[in-house]
């Protein structure tokens, strides 16, 4: 029965009772992590989807109230673990906004390079698994091959592949080395070929196109009113990108395009993500060639930035400086204010609303996770589609349950 007939109020009540309920998840290969969908089906058509989330809720926002601005970075990179560094950059972007800290040029460029590497990282997983969920395992392996290289770049800079905890208030854990720069240059050289292979396998693949085109359509009006951001909004024709509209880090100096599509369907979202990877690579190439020299921490005499580790271990002044920065009763004071800082994370607008009571830790730190708003629109996207389209739509909006539930 067509959807507009189902919605009409004079429909026979017996029909609604005849719908059958299907539990999709919490454990299902297409849910990627742990989330549950309660689907009401008419034959194979989805009449209503009721997402049930919260399986991974672990009280991250409560923890933000006991950990200081540097410690909490270890928690934020566990939110969207597909692009951990993007969360760290967003968190410290908000904290530095609250404290009124202006970063050094070198730090800005390194963070920009990492933010864009994370965008490629996230989009490779999202597009790869979207294809995998629809039955194409080869392209997924191509994508993961490239992700491995980005993990190695993260490891070289921070010592950690996955949960890097690399940013600090006013700087970075360590400065990068010359061989890190060589690794990024090497990635810029090899990525286009891998991208061509990947895109060639999928973009015009008839099975993939037919399973995603005109499936899970999100209208422009719904995308705006529903708070959709990032690739999901841009695929519905909302021309907005915080990197261009509210430039932060080094994005003002760099040349890139905002990628949009008009369809609002799964294929458009896939296309936007594919196009954004090319733009991200363009940004990385520009940034790595123009990487400024100088310190990564803001001037190390006050309480703003942590001193260099070699100073801490080799001089008494450095040790005292470190002590003054780390001990809870001696840290830098923050203004008694509230501040919202947002960045364009791979998934959309990732913001932190911080309320401070004067200490070096947040009184309340709210995460504005893009996944929550995207997933709340899921019911609007899936209604009237087939059961087999659920995997396509879920894959195209890139739901990360750890970010969803926090």
């Amino acid at each position: 029965m067509p959807l507009d007939l189902i919605e009409s109020p004079d429909l026979d009540a017996g029909y609604r009772e005849g719908l059958w309920t299907l539990n999709f998840g919490p454990q299902h290969p297409a849910t990627h992590t742990t989330l549950r969908l309660v689907l009401k089906l008419d034959g194979e058509m989805v009449v209503e989807a009721d997402p049930d989330i919260g399986f991974l809720h672990s009280g991250f926002e409560k923890l933000a109230e006991v950990l200081d601005y540097n410690q909490y970075v270890t928690i934020v990179d566990r939110m969207n673990y597909i692009s951990p560094m993007a969360n760290e950059i967003a968190w410290h972007h908000a904290v530095e906004g609250l404290l009124g800290i202006e970063l050094t040029p070198r730090c800005k460029y390194i963070r920009t390079i990492f933010a864009e590497l994370m965008r490629i990282h996230d989009h490779l997983l999202c597009t790869g698994t979207c294809v995998l969920d629809l039955g194409g395992a080869t392209a997924f392996m191509y994508a993961f091959n490239e992700r491995e290289k980005i993990y190695e770049i993260c490891e070289r800079a921070s010592g950690q592949r996955f949960h890097t905890s690399y940013t600090r208030v006013g700087g970075l854990l360590y400065d990068v080395t010359d061989d890190w720069v060589a690794m990024v240059r090497d990635f810029c050289k090899t990525f286009p070929r891998a991208y061509r292979d990947f895109a060639g396998l999928v973009m015009k693949n008839r099975i993939f196109v037919e399973r995603t085109r005109d499936v899970g359509v999100l209208s422009k009006a719904d995308a705006i009113a529903g708070g959709a951001t990032g690739p999901v909004a841009r695929a519905s024709g909302v021309e907005r990108d915080l990197r261009r509209d509210e430039p932060y880090l080094a994005y003002n100096d760099l040349d890139f395009d905002v990628c949009c599509a008009q369809g609002g369907d799964c294929y458009s979202r896939f296309q936007v993500r594919m196009m954004e990877m090319v733009e991200s690579l363009k940004i990385i190439e520009q940034a790595i060639e123009n990487l400024p020299s100088g310190p990564v921490f803001i001037s190390g005499t006050g309480k703003e930035g942590l001193p260099d580790k070699t100073e801490v271990y080799r001089s008494i002044e450095g040790l005292i400086h470190h002590f003054e920065n780390i001990m809870p009763n001696r840290q830098m004071p923050s203004p008694k204010e509230s501040y919202y800082g947002a960045t364009e994370s791979p998934n959309g607008e990732l913001g932190y609303y911080i309320v401070s009571d004067g200490d070096f830790k947040a009184y309340r730190a709210r995460t504005r996770p893009p996944s929550v708003l995207h997933f709340s629109l899921f019911n609007r996207m899936i209604r009237g589609c087939m059961l087999s389209d659920v995997a396509a739509v879920l894959g195209s909006i890139n739901i990360i349950a750890a970010e969803l539930d926090r």
Binding site: I53, G54, H57, G59, E61, K62, L63, E65, V66, G97, L98, G100, D222, I224, A225, G226, G227, A228, V238, R240, D245, E246, P335, K336, E337, S338, Y339, Y340, A342, E349, G351, Y353, V355, D357, G358, Y363, R364, R366, R368, V372, L373, F375, S376, L377, R380, D405, R406
Partner: protein, 167 residues
């Protein structure tokens, strides 16, 4: 990019005689609206071009130095055409923790309001599907309140175990 609108004029003409407190911090504009007029204010702002709800959240001001009200509910609004942002704040005190739902104004308010209820116990009236979002329905506390301990109240350790025969 279109011109940004003067929201101060818009709100003052739509809500005559209402005490609005405007403030600014690092060029972020904020306004404090009384809880009674919040629906009117949000609707006026939507009509003035603030077409996207970025976030709805709350802060428990119980331990905040110098605070007089218990809860602060925060609406972050955005005009996607001009890029203008506005933070709207309103204050609530126990036992009257009720606000009108913003769902009829922006559909994005749906889960955001449910999460505020889940964590703080603030009720949004007129919401079509109002229940907890993240925590189980049987959960009794509101964990992001300041009087709720970080380690919890033993909910996790005293969880009833369901045997196979009962399930």
């Amino acid at each position: 990019m279109s011109e940004s609108t003067n929201l101060k004029e818009v709100l003052e003409s739509k809500l005559p005689g209402v005490a609005l407190a405007w403030s600014e911090f690092r060029s972020q504009q904020r306004v404090r609206v009384p809880a009674l007029q919040i629906a009117q204010a949000l609707r006026a702002l939507r009509d003035a071009g603030m077409d996207q709800i970025v976030d709805i959240t709350a802060v428990d001001m119980l331990e905040y130095p110098g605070a007089t009200d218990r809860f602060e509910v925060v609406y972050l609004l955005l005009d996607t055409q001009s890029g203008q942002r506005l933070t709207v704040k309103t204050h609530l005190n126990e036992p009257d923790l009720k606000l009108p739902s913003a769902y009829p104004i922006w559909i994005g308010a749906d889960w955001l309001e449910r999460e505020v209820y889940d964590m703080f116990g603030i009720v949004f009236e007129g919401h079509p599907n109002f229940k907890r979002l993240l925590l189980p329905d049987a959960f009794e506390s509101f964990p992001l309140r300041k009087d709720y301990p970080v380690k919890g109240r033993g909910e996790r350790h005293n969880f009833p175990i369901i045997t196979r025969a009962e399930s």
